[in-house]
């Protein structure tokens, strides 16, 4: 009754689009990365160049700097989001009024365009306009100029990311917490465990799959952050917030050094995958350690 052909026909349009625009670029970048294609060079045609592009990358300080910054940004942003998101989720599990209302407000940042998030935070932090520099100066004597101070710009991008994505962590963990079984907690109470022990030996192991999934999604997203940071700092001051996506897009892309740009894209993709894999091994291996009975 159900012929395989009909099934494949139904699937075909989706597969064609994803193969052409999803897998296509990947194969393309794989090929171009090993050529010296540069449309403005003396010889604009592409020739096989072996690993020459990759050899150049290892000594490309701006690129390595961008990569390093991206790791720092991801680390601080995701760590804060998980901690804050967990706290908020636990607090919402208590019986407080207006839960639905709080959740709706908390969903709002997730719907806002990243470019508009960057715009709002720029309006907050621009000297002479934004309330943040004004009140930080008046109350705490802090001179907030994210256009001049590298550390402040970096911190501002992290805080913006925390504002934008903590709600996702909160709502994810909220769903996980509310589906936890009750028995282990009751058992722990009978056994006389204190709050910290319950958290460390019961809640955390039970929530680990959900926390892991959230961390992975957030790390992948944070590693590819471009729009918001571009809008807030433009990658500056100097190159202080020029994360790797921004670097490829604003610095390498306009240079028409296609072979080199492709190699850099490839390496970035590779580093992203390896990082996620390392995290997976580290976190899952830790879970496999025997726990005290």
């Amino acid at each position: 009754m159900r012929s395989q052909t009909t099934g494949w026909l139904l699937l075909a349009p989706t597969l064609i689009i994803l193969l052409v625009f999803g897998l296509g670029p990947f194969i393309y970048v794989l090929v171009v990365g090993f050529t010296n294609w540069n449309s403005f060079a003396a010889d604009p045609s592409a020739h096989f160049a072996g690993v020459q592009n990759f050899r150049r990358l290892v000594f490309d300080d701006p690129f390595l700097h961008a990569l390093w910054l991206t790791f720092g940004f991801t680390f601080f942003a995701v760590l804060s989001e998980i901690a804050l998101g967990y706290l908020l989720a636990q607090l919402l599990m208590r019986d407080i009024p207006f839960q639905g209302f709080f959740r709706t407000i908390h969903t709002l940042p997730l719907m806002v365009a990243p470019i508009a998030v960057g715009a709002t935070w720029r309006l907050l932090t621009v000297p002479g306009l934004g309330p943040l520099p004004y009140y930080l100066d008046r109350w705490l004597g802090i001179d907030l100029r994210i256009g001049s101070f590298a550390n402040q710009a970096f911190a501002a991008t992290v805080i913006m990311d925390v504002w934008h994505w903590t709600p996702l962590v909160t709502l994810t963990l909220l769903a996980a917490i509310s589906s936890l079984p009750k028995e282990p907690f009751e058992q722990a109470q009978i056994d006389g465990a204190n709050r910290f022990q319950v958290f460390w030996y019961v809640t955390l192991p039970l929530l680990k799959p959900a926390i892991l999934a959230t961390v992975f999604i957030r790390v992948m997203d944070a590693l590819r952050t471009v729009d918001e940071v571009w809008m807030l700092t433009g990658g500056g001051p100097a190159a202080a917030t020029r994360y790797v996506g921004l670097h490829i897009w604003r610095v390498v892309f306009p240079k028409t050094d296609y072979g080199y740009g492709a190699a850099m894209s490839l390496l970035t993709l590779y580093v992203t995958i390896v990082l996620c894999w390392l995290m997976y091994v580290a976190l899952v291996a830790r879970r496999e350690l025997p726990r005290s009975e």
């Binding site: 139904l10 706290l87 715009a119």
Partner: protein
């Protein structure tokens, strides 16, 4: 499930206070943007003032009557709507095939689709740019700077999302229903439109809305793969920073306009957005 016991003041007050503060922090940047959008240049001078006394409409009218911005906005509406319709339709067909047919490697295909959404877009800008301007160009026609180009490109991240959202919904429709319809002599198309479509309507609506919002919000592809004709509202907003510089009131007004769809759809889809953003890993 959430516990619904009587109000507990001990831990409750502190939690409530914490959540009120968190909500204020969440709302504050958006509120401030709205405040800036309602003020003239002169009013914005000096100490920050959070109260809107008179609404300075010129910020909005300047954007709305600007022919360039009108074009950007119309482009955004056309691209998002076409993309949402295309993605929802194709995803419905694909999900139905994955759910009901015994296809070789269908679970692998299902998982492969999501990798398209996980990849960093910046990495694929260069190959996409080259593919679109050179490889897929037929004579002088290419997908570069066309609406149809962006509609197709947005499928790369929206199709996997839609398939993953719809999978559970289609799987939940009992197979017996469409088998009964087939026994009655309906063909595949009639089953899809007569049985599946009415039952999956709410899920399809949510999918369409969220893909619409994701397409509306996209910036990087639009900024790189268009130049004049197919520019969208997000690229217009970004141009404020790079080109005009300091007309903050008008920039805030444009950003507020960009925000309107999110605010309109918020209530409708807030239950589903988390499942969508976590690739269906979390169901509320």
């Amino acid at each position: 499930m959430m516990r619904r016991s009587p109000f507990k003041p001990s831990g409750g007050w502190l939690s409530l206070a914490f959540w009120i503060v968190a909500s204020l922090i969440t709302l504050f940047p958006i509120y401030w943007m709205f405040v800036v959008s309602a003020k003239s240049r002169v009013e914005l001078f000096g100490a920050p003032n959070f109260i809107i006394r008179s609404f300075f409409v010129e910020n909005y009218t300047a954007t709305l009557t600007n022919p360039t911005f009108q074009r950007y906005m119309i482009n955004s509406i056309i691209i998002s709507t076409s993309n949402a319709l295309l993605v929802t339709t194709l995803a419905l067909l694909a999900t139905y095939a994955l759910s009901r047919y015994r296809l070789v490697g269908k679970e692998n295909i299902f998982f492969w689709t999501i990798t398209n959404r996980m990849a960093p877009p910046a990495v694929f800008l260069l190959p996409l740019f080259l593919l679109i301007t050179q490889t897929f160009a037929i004579g002088s026609f290419s997908l570069y700077d066309t609406r149809i180009g962006l509609v197709l490109l947005y499928c790369v991240f929206n199709l996997p999302f839609a398939i993953w959202t719809l999978r559970g919904i289609i799987d939940a429709i009992p197979k017996e229903l469409d088998e009964a319809a087939m026994v009655d002599g309906c063909n595949t198309w009639q089953v899809l439109t007569g049985v599946i479509l009415p039952l999956a309507k709410p899920g399809l609506a949510v999918t369409a809305i969220l893909t619409w919002v994701f397409a509306w919000n996209e910036y990087l592809f639009a900024a790189t793969l268009t130049s004049v004709n197919a520019r969208t509202i997000t690229t217009g907003l970004a141009e404020f920073v790079t080109v005009t510089g300091t007309n903050w009131g008008q920039m805030a007004a444009t950003a507020s306009l960009t925000l309107v769809p999110a605010l309109v759809f918020l209530g409708l889809v807030q239950q589903h957005i988390v499942a969508g953003l976590t690739f269906g890993a979390v169901k509320e």
